[in-house]
């Protein structure tokens, strides 16, 4: 049953050193505030799972928190590469990073299988693709009816998933809308699901019946963090801060500049600082 908690407590209660953790968001609704709180609390040896690790995993990897990354596209979306992740993979800085790399189709199916309580997912994939050679977690299954050989990957079952959503109601049910990405699957695939939301409303009585709602008993903790997805966006609340993504490319290019930026913008800040960062992005049409 969802508990409403301050973000610092929600993170402290649900994340542990050595956990397999997903901070999910497919471009939209990226749980930046939760990731920054995890950085402030200094967790170690994390296995970071995400289809599209972007700035927040670049930051966590750069801060030396990650033992391993499981992903399908490690880029700064629309901008370029992730320079802290590159530094870890290419130069072992700040330390070596184990990687398990998949395609989007594989990761999406793996989360889906995790939410569905299955040990693996099967799909038509990786045909002719070299990832199947370098990733031992890409195997195959033969269809017992047609003999077709399909790709198989293990399901993703994180210890904890963090997502950002538009809103919760007072009972703790959570609404995700717009580009819903992989959020529902990531939350349901995990042992514990922590959600940051833009706001809490009285009830969901007027919501359309088929929207993506996580019932309160499928959520572990909820923290109210307006702006908590910045520089990503929250459909209906504020727009994507594209300038910040462009700026990150320069910040992450230099080890010292990265540390300084993290000190100033993450370590010395709190979840309360996010609201101000999205003020100029709220002029909704």
């Amino acid at each position: 049953m969802a508990k409403f908690l301050p973000l610092s407590q929600a993170v402290a209660d649900n994340l542990n050193d050595g956990d397999t953790v997903a901070f999910e968001g497919f471009t939209h609704l990226i749980p930046t505030a939760a990731a920054h709180e995890a950085i402030r609390q200094g967790f170690k040896d994390l296995t970071l799972v995400r289809m599209t690790p972007d700035l927040i995993y670049d930051q966590m990897i750069g801060m030396g928190m990650a033992k391993k990354a499981i992903f399908s596209y490690a880029g700064n979306p629309g901008v370029g590469l992730l320079r802290r992740l590159r530094d870890a993979v290419e130069n072992g800085f700040p330390h070596a990073l184990e990687i398990e790399e998949h395609s989007h189709a594989a990761m999406a199916n793996a989360y889906e299988a995790g939410a569905a309580g299955l040990p693996c997912a099967i799909f038509r994939g990786y045909r002719g693709a070299e990832l199947a050679r370098v990733n031992p977690n890409i195997r195959s299954v033969t269809c017992p009816f047609t003999g077709e050989v399909l790709a198989a990957v293990p399901s993703v079952r994180p210890d904890v998933t963090f997502i950002h959503a538009q809103k919760a109601n007072r009972k703790g049910d959570v609404l995700v809308e717009g580009i819903i990405g992989i959020q529902k699957e990531a939350a349901l695939a995990a042992r514990r699901a922590v959600v940051t939301v833009e706001e809490v409303v009285d009830n969901f009585d007027d919501l359309h019946p088929n929207l993506t709602v996580l019932p309160n008993w499928s959520v572990t903790a909820i923290s109210v963090v307006p702006g908590g997805a910045h520089p990503s966006y929250a459909h209906g609340y504020y727009a994507r801060d594209n300038a910040s993504y462009l700026e990150w490319d320069e910040i992450a290019a230099d080890r010292d500049r990265f540390r300084e930026w993290m000190q100033e913008n993450v370590i010395e800040k709190s979840a309360d600082d996010f609201a101000a960062r999205v003020e100029h992005l709220r002029n909704v049409a």
């Binding site: 471009t27 880029g75 189709a105 045909r127 693709a129 409303v201 007027d206 504020y238 994507r240 594209n242």
Partner: protein
């Protein structure tokens, strides 16, 4: 540019856009493919269905998205589905007529590398990886590729097979049990290429205005084959150029930080 009135990059985008038809269902990669697909939509193919891997189906953005999941894509889509549904029902389900991809490294058989430069375990440069491309490349009915030419990008042997094109050429796809056509078109900033019917090697079939065979060869890492009868790509029309430039101008303005408001959602809950 000055003498021609358009840049090679503009010619590339416009030539690529012309290959798309109104009844195409196009899975759009970011960057050059996104511009070409939207120019097609805004000119000769208004009914084209554009799909981005973020789950937005039938989207009609007013500005080009910076990422594959910008709010603009959802705001203007016919419907927005989850990512598992996108890859299962819409891509793997065989509903995509054209998968439109870019490439960091490309070989003459349309195999694409966006994973690493150098050895996978100890890469010289770690690139973002495949994302949706490995399955776009094999589940879409055919694949269009667009990229600016360079010897670094168009290489004799790619470092990693992120997405399978025609493999070693010939019937390599069929031998792997892949029943889709694979790359059928490559549009660069200099030329239009199509695979040879038998060998599947990309062959230049049309040179963009003012481009010579030598220029094409100088910026390509393999020995270029040219078709017997080589056409010249028609220049961009006034409408095409204006459409592309207006789109880019709107996009630049938007990406400098002007908020594009979210138009639809539940404000009542």
């Amino acid at each position: 540019m000055s003498e021609l009135g358009f840049t090679p990059d503009e010619m590339m985008t416009i030539a690529a856009s012309r290959a798309l038809k109104g009844d195409d269902v196009c899975f759009v990669g970011i960057g050059a493919p996104s511009a070409a697909c939207n120019v097609a939509r805004l000119t000769h193919a208004p009914e084209i269905t554009l799909i981005y891997e973020s789950g937005t189906i039938g989207t009609a953005p007013d500005v080009l998205p910076l990422s594959i999941g910008d709010g603009e894509l959802c705001d203007t889509a016919v419907t927005t589905v989850s990512v598992p549904e996108m890859f299962r029902y819409w891509l793997q389900g065989g509903r995509i007529s054209i998968g439109f991809l870019g490439a960091a490294q490309l070989d003459k058989f349309g195999n694409i590398n966006t994973t690493v430069i150098g050895d996978y375990a100890h890469p010289k440069t770690r690139l973002p990886g495949g994302g949706g491309a490995p399955e776009i490349a094999t589940s879409s009915r055919e694949i269009y590729i667009t990229m600016a030419q360079s010897k670094r990008g168009m290489v004799d042997k790619i470092d990693f097979y992120t997405s399978f094109g025609h493999g070693d050429g010939g019937d390599h796809r069929q031998r792997l049990g892949i029943d889709t056509k694979g790359p059928t078109l490559l549009v660069t900033d200099l030329a239009i290429w199509k695979p040879d019917p038998d060998t599947k090697e990309f062959t230049v079939v049309s040179l963009h205005p003012g481009v010579t065979r030598d220029v094409v060869q100088e910026s390509c890492g393999w020995t270029v084959k040219f078709a017997d009868t080589l056409e010249e790509t028609p220049e961009p029309t006034e409408l095409e150029l204006k459409t592309l430039r207006d789109l880019k101008a709107r996009t630049d303005a938007a990406h400098k930080g002007e908020a594009v408001g979210a138009k639809r959602g539940s404000k009542d809950g």
